[in-house]
Symmetry: C3
């Protein structure tokens, strides 16, 4: 187990949890005795929880007093061999580096169930999984890998939802059954992952660092970098080269506030593009019984992450927009324009059309962002769990497309009539917001095609099992699918 995990656990343990143990008197003689090797945080928390669930617990440790108080009601034996012999199930809660000392206990551990709860600090630190190494050291024991995804803290404070699952693997079905029973009695749900060769996979679980976020994060970073340099050249470099002006200070706010909404809009559209592609693929194939290509499957699996990253960029865009009027540059420009108007004695006339366009632009942006936040809230695990399947699909699909529509309209209104003006195309390049409109517009048009009654009807039939290819055998084929 990782030292940091131990350490952080010990810091978060509530002080009163020490009194969680039952009276020794309550331990009837028929209760099963379990042995725990190691008195680190995990060993102590596990012992406490086992005692609370009615087991008797004996610790095997050479230094029982060196680290924190052990739970009341547990025995401690400094003679580890005796401790091992007293129970048929032994939890090994020590670091892999000290496993070699267990070799000396091989005779006493013969035929016992050894539960390996250890984790490593890094992936691929060792050539074989900890549990496999333990099995090699003590071939006579039945090693079961389990509990390594639980933290000491979760064990002590009662497991919450996500940490309620215990993965286990091992070569002996009986040993796994024995460990399952203990886990079930602790209020945990057991998932069997097969033989001990799966131990490596299980040991990698707690070391995972957002695997499903990697692709979307990389995409977001690439898009942001690409548009940053594109706009840097179009805005800052252009102004310096053509007009000799240094507007490099704009990088910090103005440029950032162009990159963020562009990336956000494109990524939001990329959330909905795979669904549209999948629908057209099903229409083209005339069946839902063919698997999608791998790239489409992978794309669909990261839609939630794409959407949340898009929301993050949209939120940055909102904050960067709201600070516009307190910026030094903006205040300077406004004062300058007022002063020049007075000096030149110009009178500007209020343009109602411009007011309509500007206010609509802001309104669409706010409504789009509000729906966006709603989508984000419903993707919180506790909220989405409370929704029925139809409610979740309504929000993520119907409201999702409405969000995309509002945000796209917001961007079109931003452009206004500037699309046609040649001065927009500095150095013959289109401004960033025009580029950002391509994907969302395509997605919206394709979606519009799909919800046409005739297309929608065919698609619904396909999704309910109907197939186009073989009309006469149709009903029979779709039986029992």
């Amino acid at each position: 187990m990782s030292a940091d995990r131990l350490c952080s656990a010990s810091k978060e343990v509530k002080p009163e949890s020490v009194s969680l143990c039952p009276l020794g008197a309550a331990a009837a003689p028929e209760q099963e005795l379990l042995c725990i090797f190691g008195t680190g945080d995990f060993g102590r928390s596990l012992g406490q929880r086992l005692l609370q669930s009615g087991y008797r617990v004996v610790y095997g440790s050479r230094r029982p007093h060196s680290c924190g108080p052990l739970p009341q009601g547990a025995q401690v034996m400094s003679h580890t061999a005796a401790a091992a012999q007293s129970a048929s199930l032994v939890f090994v809660c020590i670091h892999r580096e000290h496993y070699d000392f267990l070799e000396t206990l091989a005779p006493e551990l013969k035929g016992k169930v050894l539960v390996d709860v250890s984790n490593n600090l890094k992936k691929n630190l060792y050539p074989e999984a900890n549990a496999e190494y333990l099995q090699r050291l003590i071939p006579g024991a039945h090693v079961v890998k389990a509990f390594n995804t639980l933290s000491a803290w979760a064990l002590q404070n009662g497991p919450s939802d996500a940490s309620r699952q215990v993965y286990l693997c091992g070569n002996s079905a009986e040993a796994k059954e024995a460990v399952s029973e203990v886990a079930t009695k602790l209020g945990l749900t057991v998932l069997d992952r097969g033989s001990l060769t799966a131990a490596r996979e299980l040991e990698d679980f707690p070391l995972q660092l957002f695997p499903e976020w990697r692709l979307p994060l990389r995409l977001a970073a690439s898009l942001a970098a690409a548009f940053f340099f594109y706009l840097l050249i179009r805005d800052v470099v252009y102004a310096y080269a053509e007009e000799g002006k240094d507007i490099s200070f704009r990088i910090m706010v103005s440029l950032a506030n162009k990159v963020f909404p562009i990336v956000s809009l494109i990524m939001l559209a990329l959330c909905y593009l795979p669904g549209v592609i999948a629908a057209f693929l099903q229409l083209y194939r005339g069946t839902k019984y063919k698997r999608f290509p791998d790239w489409l499957d992978r794309w669909m699996l990261c839609r939630k992450q794409l959407g949340l990253l898009a929301l993050a960029f949209a939120s940055l865009h909102v904050l960067y927009t709201l600070i516009i009027p307190i910026r030094y540059y903006v205040r300077f420009k406004i004062a300058e324009s007022t002063i020049s108007k007075i000096k030149e004695n110009k009178t500007s006339v209020f343009d109602t059309t411009l007011a309509w366009r500007a206010d609509s632009y802001y309104s669409m942006g706010i409504l789009g962002y509000a729906l966006y936040v709603l989508l984000g809230i419903t993707s919180l695990p506790s909220v989405s769990n409370a929704l029925s399947w139809r409610e979740f699909s309504f929000i993520q699909s119907k409201l999702g497309y409405l969000t995309l529509f509002f945000c796209t309209l917001h961007t079109y209104l931003y452009g206004g009539s500037r699309f046609l003006s040649p001065s927009t195309y500095k150095w013959y390049t289109p401004p960033g917001y025009i580029l950002s409109l391509v994907v969302p517009s395509v997605v919206l048009v394709l979606k519009l095609l799909i919800i046409l009654p005739c297309v929608d009807r065919t698609l619904t039939r396909i999704r309910r099992g109907w197939e186009r290819t073989d009309p006469e055998d149709d009903t029979k084929k779709s039986l029992l699918t």
Copy 2:
């Protein structure tokens, strides 16, 4: 089961989940054999989960290879009659449209437990529930409706909290007991809903579309529409009729930003009004042992939704307010006023009282909104679950009234001394914010009455079981209530 549900499930399944199955070797001979008809997403996920929990699984399917890989370790029989005969419990994971083919298997299915997991695409598609139809087709079998509220995705990735509950119903107590046992072994919690006549209700569960949000949403929409037209006439039409000015562009931001806070404040007050009415009803009746009128009960049940909608409107109000200084109209007006001041050589004096009032107005608004968001956060399922009863009641009641107080004060400060000015009352109508103050003011005054020590004491006694009507028999009566 709905095709869309199947489809969305298959898209979200993690690629590695295919390796979730235990070794075939681990399946000891004494493990129970279950049969699954249908190899769609739900059937496949169910089979995988059953295998993981130690059951043996046989699929009955005429097209086992047409859709996705089946879990390793499961048998597949294309001869469905043989599959049905091999197990005493059969999961029917096929669409209702194909149930008629099961009729041919009636002899083999006699005496078996048939678990109907199906859902429909819409409510009231068929005259009878799917499970009742199945029972009618195969009268010799014991049909149990169950698992239909679970998704294939939840089954595969381990059920989370909300999806941990399995509702079941059926006419045979033994059959229900058998299904309960399987569900419990899968880590699910069973809730028995009675006989098979409840099947329709169970089949409607996944088709629910925010039933508890309907009334609050309708109320919010009506209030918003009413105030929109009221303000449209008072502001835009008035300006056009009396002054000949076209200020229709104000609809997009200015008018919206009047409607949103008005609706928000009224709906927040409507959250707290039923509680106050209930308290006065209890005081008037002198007992808590009479049920509240139905309308009051229904009102109380949607307080959370009322509050969340009010928060949504308040958030829109905040966003619409914060973009004020970047609006074209506002910038134009400010520049114009500065220019006219210079031209007319007027000097305006700084008004400290006005500064106090304006800053207090903003401050109250921000503090009220901050508390509002806090209330919203604590109503997230995972947060409110972690609160003790007293903590939840403290936040929702004490902090709730404080929020209402801040927001009401914010609105009074907005009005300031304009309440008394006749020019406020265009066409003899009061401005919207005055109308929005009625309900909150009433609620706050009534609440103030209730927390007076003498009233509070009586109310507390009533809520603890004391009754006013029959003083001498008092203690006896409240025994065992």
Copy 3:
């Protein structure tokens, strides 16, 4: 049980929940009969749930029809003695004040298991716990305290995650085992807290009011008050005393917007200071096997609350900052400065350095706040439960320090070159933001020291069990820890 709890429960019960009961016909004769005393909300909800889980239920009540409908399928006996005799397990769902009437049933209750589910309205209302009082009244019964942390509402709607745990205590191991069995069958997880002397502790659970928030809240309030008065003197009193100007209106927004970010930054730094201190303590001691001093332990335990309060203050700072341009005072000042520029015919030159500094300042603030919100979201129970240990530690530690760095940099940029100007130090006191920079700067410098490769290596070794003190006995000592 508290009257309010009952009351609020009855208000929130869904109307359709009454139909949750199974058919009477489904109740096979071998099902266990349980008795419930009291027909209040909790008693009714408990009965319903027990019936759903397959128990038979008999109510003992003298007034069965006075309060709400009882669940269908339950018997009701107005003769409480007969009801008590019929079952071996009796749930006492009545108020403590009416316990004395139970004394008359002492002969019938002898040898029975009595489950005390009651709560009090306040802490320390009575000299002894309700359950101990009940045991004293009926010494022949086996009293078990249980279920008091569940609400009637949770029982009826199926327990969610946090409310799934049942704490129980009692003097008889057999009685506790019997209650455990019932709880497990209801889908709850049991935690045994020992003998009946723990009843008081259990009865205090639902009365807890944010115990872990008290210290952080007190700290935040003290810091806010201290800086408020400090800045009041430095800004408002100074302006009045030295310049004779009344700028008291600034208290509402300007002053508040100085206090909030200062408190937020200091509290964010105080989140990370204990971790740094702990690391240096471990480095100094050369071992992780010595407990931290109590004050450090307590500090570490409230880091999450410190951080969330800091986030709340930061959010207020954001809102107060964003309304700056719509304030009357600000608009007046800007107009005044424009007018004076024209009158005095001054031309101000655009300062690119100032623009860089101002925009960087805003940018850092926004990025810091965005990360801050991300930290807040991941501390939501349902989100943090879904993270692996490594992911949680990555966010809370790596991203946490990045947040602190951004926010500190934001504050340094705010100061800019003003640090050196003597006019900053009115009455020889430093401005608030300079004071707020002390703790974060110290934390960042110490953290920088810790992540130096040489220090980091030693620390990692210590945290994995290595000890400096006794090098030759090193490996042996760290065995089995």
